[in-house]
Symmetry: C2
Subunit: 287 residues, 2 copies
């Protein structure tokens, strides 16, 4: 299958490399510098090289599947170009949070939604390190794309060391990921520590638990189940730094608005823990 991956950050490069074993992958990037080096060197993932083509996003051509690995904060500017793409080409969106859900409704193409739990570290413009085992969960965006997601896409990109799991319930899949991110990302970003510290530092663990409970109240999820899931992801990616750690380091805008900010927006009750942690990250952003 011809697969176009939009965005070559940590997740984009990781997905491109993994899929390149059985598919014809083109990685669409913004900067010519990155395009050149990926074309020259391929993508290096854990000391192995994967041959992947790279093109500028402006030159997006038709593919059998597009996987959109842009961050929420970069999605807006890409939507117009995506909307102009071939009307039959399915698009799989792999974002954190839920802010994209409303935005991509306007697209006429068949839409799939996924979440990615792998811990991946971006080393350079063409190198990534897989630091935490995870899964890609995939769901249909609407009833009309269910067969596409379940029968035609999920089994094709699924692999032994790259499990893609179809989920029937889109929202609960997104909600689970949202809670996990809204706990692990801001805590690690605040202290610039790796994900494992969320469990190994007893005070951070206490905070993580309180954030989990509050998140579950808003989204009507089971606390015990979610607290297990949060711990699971923190363990599996314990030596990895969350994307928010890097955003703070680089002075980029973080995804806090689509995570804790989203929870605060949709909640009709007070969420003091999420509110405080939200303001702490926003405070750090403008320092």
């Amino acid at each position: 299958m011809k697969i176009g991956v939009i965005g070559a950050g940590a997740i984009g490069m990781f997905v491109s490399a993994k899929l390149s074993k059985s598919h014809d992958v083109t990685c669409y990037v913004r900067r010519d510098e990155q395009r050149l080096i990926i074309n020259d060197e391929g993508i290096r993932l854990n000391d192995q090289t994967y041959r992947v083509a790279s093109k500028l996003f402006d030159n997006l051509k038709n593919e059998d599947l597009l996987i959109i690995c842009l961050k929420q904060t970069h999605l807006d500017s890409a939507l117009k170009k995506l909307s102009e793409n071939h009307p039959d080409t399915p698009m799989l969106f792999l974002q954190n949070g839920l802010s994209h859900i409303d935005k991509i409704k306007s697209l006429s193409q068949p839409i799939l939604i996924g979440t990615c739990e792998h811990g991946v570290l971006r080393v350079s413009d063409y190198e990534v390190r897989h630091k935490g085992e995870g899964r890609i969960y995939l769901s249909a965006f609407e009833e009309t794309t269910k067969e596409l997601a379940k029968e035609r896409i999920s089994p094709i990109i699924d692999g032994d060391d790259f499990p893609v799991i179809f989920k029937d319930d889109l929202m609960s899949m997104l909600y689970e990921k949202l809670v996990i991110n809204s706990v692990i990302n801001p805590i690690t970003a605040l202290f610039q520590v790796e994900n494992g510290k969320v469990l190994s530092n007893s005070h951070l663990k206490e905070i993580a638990y309180n954030l989990t409970v509050e998140g579950c109240e808003v989204l009507n999820l089971d606390e015990n189940h979610m607290w297990k899931r949060v711990q699971q992801v923190a363990e599996h990616t314990s030596s990895n730094f969350s994307s928010m750690v890097y955003d703070i380091q680089k002075g980029n805008e973080t995804e806090i608005e689509s995570m804790n900010g989203y929870l605060l927006n949709i909640s009709d009750q007070e969420l003091p823990n999420h509110e405080l942690i939200y303001h702490l990250i926003k405070a750090k952003e403008i320092m």
Copy 2:
């Protein structure tokens, strides 16, 4: 008056220097190195030198007044020696928080309690910089020491550029200081920023307000009044770093237990903001 100041941290040195203009001050310290340099150089406060004697705390002799400027975390080990001091010598305690209140009940000497709002920066073992105008509030510990506090001590150590103000209500004086400290200290310590950032960073200001409101609920203080007081102190000491900033920097135990920890202990309701900020500082302590 012969005044002994116990502890030569920022506040101890500042108080010693200020009082040395009209009084015979001896600064009691733990380390011989600091004793020697204060005896040789005096105390330097904002480029002026104040002649102050220094002795080791173990050699505590009788004075007309003792001012105890030790931190809460260093108070326990000094209490025995203090209890053996002359039974008539009044002691003025200048600590943050309220943890000392229970401890010093065992002393038979006349006790006064004070709070210090000056922003003072310790530069070295004998140098301090006065960075924020403030006041020393002074109160009687018990009915029996009221006349002593109001008539005999407060007017004597009061000075034009060193105002000492007698307060009738001990607990409200301590409570006000506790709220101010429990807001400004942990926020500044978390980000290692000066006090002014609590107001100039809009997100930190939001957090400060929420912490103030929660603190007032526990201690039954007026929110509007306290929010004004918090802002006042943050403004007056805007270029100063709180003691907790230095404790974190030096890897010392912070006074979080006697501040936010104290509020959490005495409250019969949830204080999510103070609880989260408490755990954030404890998390930072053990990093």
